[in-house]
Amino acid sequence: MKKNIVARAALAVWIVFWVLFLVRPLFKKGLLGEYAALSVLSGEERRGRVTGEELYGFIKFCRAALPEYSTYKIVGLEHDSLEHRRLRYYLYPDAEKEDPEFILVYKTGDFKSDGYRVFKTLDAEKYILRLSKK
């Protein structure tokens, strides 16, 4: 067996990169502060922080307002964006459908749709419309 200078040099370079890419995100991406903040929060508060307080507040508002197994569509979030996916995930078993009973309006003031009336309001830009009975 021979001592391998190449293996040792590789290990030295490895350790430098390891420490660099371990420590850098803690400060550059603010992970240290993020972890510190998250560690004192409850599960529900962590969901809010990770999702974004404004969106998560709207999700909680919708969860409380919608009857179970409702159908909805969302206005104000880009289709297939991460926010859209998160809303879909948290609202399930309420499901997004074409021709739904509810329209969830997020950060869009004065949105109107034929046959729908305001059902519940969180604020001027966040509210739920419901299909009015014909």
Binding site: F21, L22, L38, Y92
Partner: protein, 457 residues
């Protein structure tokens, strides 16, 4: 506190099912309890999720009783069998006296332990939040949890609600299994399963390396593997790539051991892990075929064609065919990203050839990007150039072939991609993830080169 209790009970159930199945499958095989425990974790989750799919098929709703009751005879048999064969008795006299750890070994253990603890912390500090983790896996898990089954006609009924209904179900069903234990959609605690896969993969890798290297060198390579940023990132984010890496790498590792030692139980483990890889992600199809090819080519090279090896290869190909048949019969594509193209085969091949430079460019970004991979790919390329002839020696050939086939297979995948968002999007968003799947095999390849070159750290 309650979460911890749920995690412990859930983990105990997974491990005991996996352990019992391993006891049932073979008498010999993994010699170390640590290696066996790591395999039990992957096997337990794989078996329970397959059982959950079968329960759904037979209209049996999920609850702890309906899921666990079927395992009682197997567990009882395994406990009795292990007791009879005195597997539980620890004899201090029989234990090997280990020499004290050197400073370097202590450092490697510190590095591995630090990364493991940090992975658990990172996983548990945040709920599910990454795109695919939420949009695909966690949403499916929630659907199955509320339905207490995989709903009949899931693919047709839910295709507008959840993307990629065609993806295999190991991950969502394992999350559902956890929710059933916790009694709610606990999307914080459920993430424990990802660092556990990481830990299991590290354990399997270490015990595999120990078969070829002394303790210090094995710890060195396990340290390298454990500290690759891309691996630790995916040990925390709720994606299926690390579980897939566990299954397809373990499958290859035990195939490799069989090729060297011809112990049948290794081949059984390899095949089972190959099935679980298929059940985790569609990329598992590629690995099942690669393992079949590696088995046949290496037997031919060794001039020792064994029927059991041929059966293994045949069963692997049949498993892939059966998977494709089932997916086709349900009316699904293997992956929607490959089903949308209306172009003729000739046109697709031509398009694929034109994409090769872009694919190679993406590969070089990965190879020389220390942010995600440290210098592992640089070491691999340097090792391959420096030890080119040795790479094709009898003992290293299986790993070299596997890596070459994965590169060829994944390159073909990108050449044929018809992702609606475009080929460039597909390549840039998934390239770095696909490299995770065979990274453990690549680090193992370095282990073999290290051993063959009679090096010392």
């Amino acid at each position: 506190m309650l979460d911890l209790l749920v995690i412990l009970v859930w983990l105990a159930c997974v491990l005991i099912v996996g352990w019992s199945a391993l006891s049932f499958t073979f008498k010999k095989g993994p010699s170390s309890p640590g290696e066996r425990m790591a395999l039990s974790y992957g096997a337990g989750i794989g078996l329970i999720t397959i059982e959950m799919a079968l329960l759904s098929f037979f209209n049996i709703k999920f609850n702890i009783f309906s899921i666990m009751i079927w395992w009682v005879p197997l567990v009882a048999w395994a406990l009795l069998s292990d007791y009879r064969e005195k597997r539980f008795i620890f004899s201090p006299a029989g234990a090997k006296k280990q020499k004290p750890f050197s400073l370097a070994e202590k450092f490697f253990i510190f590095g591995i332990s630090f990364e493991a603890v940090y992975a658990f912390f990172r996983a548990l500090i945040k709920p599910m939040e990454a795109y695919d983790a939420i949009a695909i896996y966690a949403l499916k898990a929630k659907i199955f949890y509320f339905a207490k089954a995989v709903p009949h006609g899931f693919a047709a009924s839910f295709k507008d609600i959840v993307p990629h209904v065609e993806y295999p179900l190991l991950l969502p069903l394992s999350e559902t299994f956890f929710y059933i234990f916790s009694g709610s959609v606990n999307d914080l605690a459920v993430k424990i399963m990802f660092p556990l896969y990481y830990l299991a993969l590290l354990s399997v890798f270490y015990f595999l390396s120990r078969r070829f290297l002394e303790r210090k060198a094995s710890l060195f390579f396990t340290f390298l593997f454990a500290t690759i940023p891309q691996i630790t990132d995916f040990a925390t984010n709720g994606y299926a790539d690390l579980p897939l890496a566990f299954y397809c790498s373990t499958s290859f590792f035990y195939l490799y051991l069989w090729l060297r030692q011809k112990e049948r139980s290794f081949l059984v483990i390899s095949f089972i892990c190959s099935l679980f890889a298929l059940w985790t992600k569609t990329e598992g199809l590629v690995f099942a075929l690669i393992n079949a090819a590696v088995a046949v080519i290496c037997m031919m090279k060794q001039k020792q064609i064994r029927p059991v090896g041929l059966i293994y290869a045949l069963l692997s190909v049949l498993a892939v065919a059966a998977y494709l048949l089932i997916v086709h019969s349900i009316g699904l594509a293997v992956n929607e990203d490959f089903a949308l193209s209306q172009a003729s085969p000739a046109s697709r091949i031509l398009t694929g050839i034109k994409r090769i430079p872009a694919i190679l460019y993406e590969y070089q970004i990965q190879f020389f990007g220390p942010k995600k991979w440290n210098i592992i790919w640089v070491l691999f390329i340097a090792g391959f150039i420096a030890k080119f002839r040795k790479s094709f020696s009898k003992d290293i050939l299986p790993a070299t072939l596997a890596i070459a086939f994965v590169f060829a297979g994944y390159t073909a995948i990108y050449m044929l991609s018809a992702a609606p968002q475009g080929f460039g999007w597909h390549l840039s968003t998934s390239g770095s993830r696909l490299f995770i799947h065979f990274l453990p095999i690549t680090v193992f390849w370095l282990v073999l080169i290290f051993k063959e070159s009679k090096l010392e750290i």
